[in-house]
Amino acid sequence: MNASITALNPAHAPYVLRIADGSLILAQRLSECCGHGPALEPDIALTNVALDLLGQARLLLSHAGALEGAGRDEDALAYWRDASQFRNPTLCELPNGDFAQTCLRTFFYVAWQAQLWTALSASKDAALAAIAEKSSKETRYHCEHLAGWVVRLGDGTANSTERLQRALNYLLPYTNELFVDDDTDLAAAAAGIGPLPSSLNDAWTAQVQAVLAEATLKLPATTPFRSSGRRGQHSEAMDYVLAEMQSVARAHPGAQW
């Protein structure tokens, strides 16, 4: 890759790592669905989305490791950090729940990614812009697919509507975190590395609300709740995700596939 591997400032590597961790942890969660989808086709679709997210995670983790300059590659970052060192938003680590919750959580995150990739294509970090451009083509299909399921379930039977409404009430507060700026974001934005999370809010909300309206769902009241995964303070679900994801690598350090 024609990456410039010099960090533009100390926030550069942590900023990229957060984006990488979001893709990685959601990929891991969606991988759990492999063989458990409600039917063959949605099962294949969710695992395809997982594969694309994993591809993003690999590129982003490698890039974050190069920017960090401490000799950590994608595997070191994925398998040898503990929960408090991961920087994914809490939304990505929550349990899949039922199919309604799985679809809605994934839709919320890929819709956020769609906005992020667009903004990142103007990054002063050429390698990051290239990953964003590549990923945005994949994310487009993820958004369409998941939005389709949200509408189908939300505007479906009494049972599917109720399940999706329950998922919405549970998940929506966790999306607040996606739009909170902190010092890392401010420093990264000031250096032209990437957008402030808050700047993605309006476009995301418009996209998501259009789909939720089509799905005949009722928006729950807003809440001041802010989850804190992007700061390394995770829910209890995180350790379970990592235990499964990391156990083989940690049982056989340095093993080659």
């Binding site: 890759m1 024609n2 086709e41 949605p42 294949i44 679709a45 395809n48 989305v49 594969l51 694309d52 997210l53 994993l54 591809g55 993003q56 690999r58 590129l59 769609a114 050429a126 390698a127 290239a130 990953i131 451009e133 590549k134 990923s135 083509k137 994949e138 487009r140 299909y141 958004c143 369409e144 697919h145 939005a147 389709g148 509408v151 996209q207 259009a210 789909v211 089509e214």
Partner: protein, 161 residues
């Protein structure tokens, strides 16, 4: 033995894509650059999808084919820019996909559409447009599953990207 650049491209044109065995990696337009210097070959490849598991196999296949053709050393690098697009497939390649029962990609619809309206894809076997999507994601990252309601055959659709 001295390799010619034309020979290198010919060798690469004989390397099949592992997930689309009837299509070569040059027809798939993932070979972006070839440099030849004193039998040392540098090949630049771009992945179709970032997580495409075939990438490692493709690297090995390129390496093996060029060494067999007389290259002294083969270096393969991956580039992400410009991002691969199905727009790079030639009309010949699209016709070849169709002959193999895979509906070739159409043109990319502009923008992200949240709601699932999709144009009907023409059946590669009977050319009917009375088809439906079974799944937006198929056996590989680059394809979707469709079904023809006229000839009743299922078929794969190479997704525009």
């Amino acid at each position: 033995m001295t390799l010619a650049l034309d020979t290198v491209w010919q060798v690469l044109a004989g390397v099949p894509d592992p997930e689309l065995p009837g299509i070569s990696i040059t027809e798939l337009a993932i070979v972006r650059d070839v440099q030849l210097n004193d039998d040392i070959v540098r090949v630049t490849v771009t992945p179709t999808y970032g997580g495409c598991p075939a990438t490692d196999v493709i690297r090995e296949d390129i390496h093996a084919a060029l060494i067999a053709a007389g290259a002294r050393e083969v270096e393969i690098s991956i580039t992400l820019t410009p991002a691969w697009s199905t727009d790079w497939l030639s009309d010949d390649t699209k016709a070849k996909l169709k002959r193999q029962g895979i509906a070739p990609p159409g043109t990319l619809a502009p923008g992200v559409k949240p709601i699932t309206f999709r144009p009907r894809i023409r059946c590669p076997r009977c050319d009917s447009t009375r088809t439906e999507e079974i799944s937006a994601f198929g056996a590989t990252a680059c394809k979707a599953l469709h079904r023809c309601l006229a000839c009743l055959e299922p078929f794969e659709y190479f997704k525009p990207i």
